[in-house]
Symmetry: C2
Subunit: 121 residues, 2 copies
Amino acid sequence: MSKSSELPIVPADGCCAPLSGPPLTEDEAAELAKVFKALSDPVRLRLLNMIASVPGGEACVCDLTGPFELTGPTISHHLKVLRQAGLIEGERRGTWVYYRAVPGALTRLSGLFALPSLAPA
Amino acid sequence: MSKSSELPIVPADGCCAPLSGPPLTEDEAAELAKVFKALSDPVRLRLLNMIASVPGGEACVCDLTGPFELTGPTISHHLKVLRQAGLIEGERRGTWVYYRAVPGALTRLSGLFALPSLAPA
DNA sequence: TCACTGCCTAGACAGATGTCAAATTAGAAG
DNA sequence: CTTCTAATTTGACATCTGTCTAGGCAGTGA
C-alpha cells in the first residue's frame, strides 16, 4: 500500500498558479488534468466526500462499499484512482484498510480558481 | 450560440458545500462530476487558462487554435465541452467567435476544497 | 451572385474507462 | 494448518472520449 509510485500529481509544492493567471505549460496542464480526471466520476466524488467528512478523518473501506450499488472490486478501483491522484492515502490496520484525505491536496486545488483581480500580481 | 440548453452544471447558486463538508447527494455528485470531467483534459485546461487569462477577458477562437497541434474541429469540440459545463461562453461577432470565462463558475469551484477545520461550522 | 474564410457539425475509428466475475493476497481466529 | 473474511488484482466486456476527415453554415467582400 502507498507505494512510492503513486504520488506525483497535485501541482506540487509551488502550486497556486490560478487558472485565470499565467499561462499553463503543457506539463502543468497534463498533471492538473490527472487530478481533475480523478474527480470526474460521481462515485469517486462521493467517496472522497465521505472520507474527508468523517469525524475521525479516517474511513474504513468496509463502510464505503455499502452506500453504493457497486461491487467491492469497483470501489477498490475508484479508491486506487483517488490514491494515485494524491487525493487520499490508505493504511492497513489488521483486517481492515482505512483511508483519509490528503489535506494539502484539497487546499492546493482551491487556489486554482482564484480570480486574478482578487490576487495581487 | 449559447443556447439555453447548455447551462446546468456548476453546483448552482447555493453552492459551497465543500468536499470535506456535508455528504454529497447522488445528484450533486453527478453534476459536479460533469464540471470536473470538463476540466480533466490537458487541452481544455489550457484553453480555459488562455481564455481566462487574456487581458480583455475575451479570446478569439482563431487565436486558440494555433498553440495546439490539433485540427480546428477538435478545438471546437473542446470549447463545446467547456461551454456545456458552464465554464465559458461564446459569442459570434462578424466573422469571428469570441469566448470568455464565466466568472462565477470558477469562484464557485474554489469553495469546494475548503477544509472543515478552517471553515466555521 | 460568386468565391473565400472562420467555425461548427456529422460520422468514423482507436484507445481509455467503468463495471463485473473470478482469482489472489493479508490478516484473524479456530 | 485450515478456514474465514476484507480488500485488491486480473482479465474481459460494453461504453465513452479524443481525434481526424469530410461536409455544412455564416459572414465578408468583389
